[in-house]
Symmetry: C2
Subunit: 378 residues, 2 copies
């Protein structure tokens, strides 16, 4: 039995609409929930009495009486979220509206295996809770991003590369043993997509490409994260057109990841005798206009763009957002845009926006918050 919020029926819907920022007033709630204004008023009254919602001043008029702005009460609870990388973990606490209270980054070797890593994260959560949250404010949910595929039905990690010891590990069960709360376990690119979606409120269909050490992608369909059977959004092992023949770690020749990922670019730079240690170094070189780096970024962008042409024609999104550490390299995005614009159907590129991600480096944590809210405020 999970410790649920004391909400029932329509209350959860209303709370979620406020928490996700879609509604700010009773009138918004009435419009978005489909309930009658009178019913909304009643439920909001109850939620305020229960200490979950709070009234906070008034909003701006739209030509009539000003709305009384609603927000989640700070005492309603917090969420603990983490985003696991290969050599570090970003983690933090959010309030129930998804606003960060504290976020920090710690060293952490994913190769140490799931037990050690997850306990490390949980210990960090406990520290943060003790330091930043009064004991009266309850923890309402725990979520983590994983740099590998997650089976959505069992919440286990499946066939991850570069994560020794994690295959088939029941991450959610392990966390549930420590926290009797809603638990979220999700692929990191998917979390990033869920977070990024909040910055594109008018768009219902998005692709979020994460260009970092590897290449990931998350898909938002109709405003909801598309998981498929757990691997949805993978674009890194698509075959690209190429003269040479490079064999990827997955065993197939000419994967996109083997040509256009941060890891591949670093290897290529080192071969040219340029020393780099992190993907951020590539961006620095590009912004310093070092010809080798710029040329590599352009080629990588074109390759990514060529893969995206297929997906843009097929999926027809409103927005392609490019995030990850490499997205700060301007020529990369420009080349992606050029490739898509050149090859896609006019109908598919009409009104299509290809832009840098807006969510920043905490997008994945915020996305974890968004998805956890869905679960915690059911």
């Amino acid at each position: 039995m999970k410790q649920r919020l004391p909400v029932q029926g329509a209350q959860g819907d209303l709370l979620r609409l406020v928490a996700t920022g879609r509604a700010e007033s009773r009138a918004d709630l009435a419009r978005l929930s489909g309930l009658a204004a009178s019913s909304v008023s009643l439920r909001v009254e109850e939620l305020i009495d229960a200490g979950l919602l709070a009234e906070e001043g008034s909003g701006t008029s739209r030509g009539g009486r000003r709305p009384r702005r609603l927000r989640l009460s700070p005492g309603a609870g917090v969420l603990a979220v983490a985003d696991l990388g290969a050599h570090h973990v970003r983690l933090g606490l959010l309030d129930l509206s998804g606003t960060p209270l504290v976020i920090e980054e710690r060293g952490c070797e994913i190769a140490d295996g799931p037990q050690v890593t997850l306990d490390h994260i949980a210990d960090a959560f406990d520290e943060l809770l003790a330091a930043h949250v009064p004991p009266s404010v309850p923890l309402r949910g725990v979520g983590t991003g994983i740099p590998g595929p997650v089976d959505p039905s069992s919440l286990r990690v499946v066939t991850p590369s570069r994560m020794p010891g994690w295959n088939e590990f029941p991450v959610a069960d392990h966390l549930a043993a420590r926290y009797d709360l809603p638990i979220l376990v999700e692929n990191d690119a998917n979390l990033m997509a869920a977070g990024e979606a909040r910055w594109w409120p008018g768009s219902q269909n998005l692709m979020i490409v994460k260009a970092g050490t590897g290449i990931g992608c998350g898909v938002i369909v109709n405003g909801h994260l598309h998981r498929g059977r757990g691997a949805a959004g993978d674009i890194s092992h698509v075959r690209v057109r190429s003269d040479s023949s490079v064999v990827c770690a997955c065993g197939h020749p000419d994967c996109l990841e083997a040509y256009a990922s941060g890891a591949a670019l670093m290897a290529a730079l080192r071969e040219s005798g340029i020393e780099v240690t992190r993907t951020a170094d590539i961006v620095t070189l590009v912004n310093d206009a070092i010809p080798e780096a710029t040329s590599l970024a352009r080629t990588a962008g074109r390759r990514i763009g060529e893969v995206l042409t297929v997906l843009v024609n097929f999926f027809n999104p409103d927005v392609v957002a490019v995030g990850g550490s490499l997205s700060a390299a301007e020529p990369l995005i420009t080349s992606i845009r050029a490739a898509v614009w050149e090859r896609c159907l006019p109908l598919a590129t009409r009104d299509l926006e290809i832009a840098p991600a807006r969510g920043g480096r905490d997008a994945a944590l915020l996305g974890a918050g968004t998805l956890l809210l869905e679960a915690a405020l059911a």
Copy 2:
């Protein structure tokens, strides 16, 4: 003002659940609609009194009392649906459960332009109605499939190839002037996808590839047709890997359609001195094990399969159904399967089914019925 069914509120939901075949009894309705069993009984009573629903014997027991089977009353209404091809049109009447009452095929040149063609269809509808439906049974909706892209917001045809005079033509408005009813205008591959989805009740995410004269594709996400901005599902103008360089009608080199469509295969066969006039001839040749034809079908299947690898990794469907006239060529599907299995991620192909379409040649008409019901029973 559209002539709506006399249903309001929850009645529409219930009626739709019965019409689409998802529910057969009051108990089914209660489970699927989320309403209480008592409320379902009340609404069903009203729908029966209104002459829209009818009780028809009893179903099979699941261990207890047998359910009293519900179906749409035959007098509740009919739908008129058409699927427009280049040189012919398939059209027919369906009852409100989507069951065909009569279906026929007529000659019809799409190049004659929208006015002539649509009036031809409407006249055919009137004939069929007069011949097969008593005047007391009302027409509840009209829908048609178009062999080109349809803008979902305006229901106009946009930038079609091989459809002179149709660009930007407001098909829905034209039909609405003749029928004061819900009107559906949709791309033919999308209709086929909507129809095919009924044959895969357990699957929520499907791709339906239509391999005929051209190559089309429809996408079902979460049980609903995905339209994107109107061009979603297009795979025919994806660039394929190839030695030669063929320029497609769209102006780009090496489009899938220029290599693997029925039109391309026919051209290749003619070059080998084999006479063919229709895509069905190709299937005949393949099934007669003519080496040139079999080899061509295999190559086409591999090319289609290579494109599908990208999309299967990305979209992670439960099912890829292959329809259209070419799908009867066994080597084509086998080659598609082989290509996808070889190159896709194990997680994406685990439990993936690649199979011939189950809907048959009327799939598009039945799909039009399904989508029209959503509109007519709102």
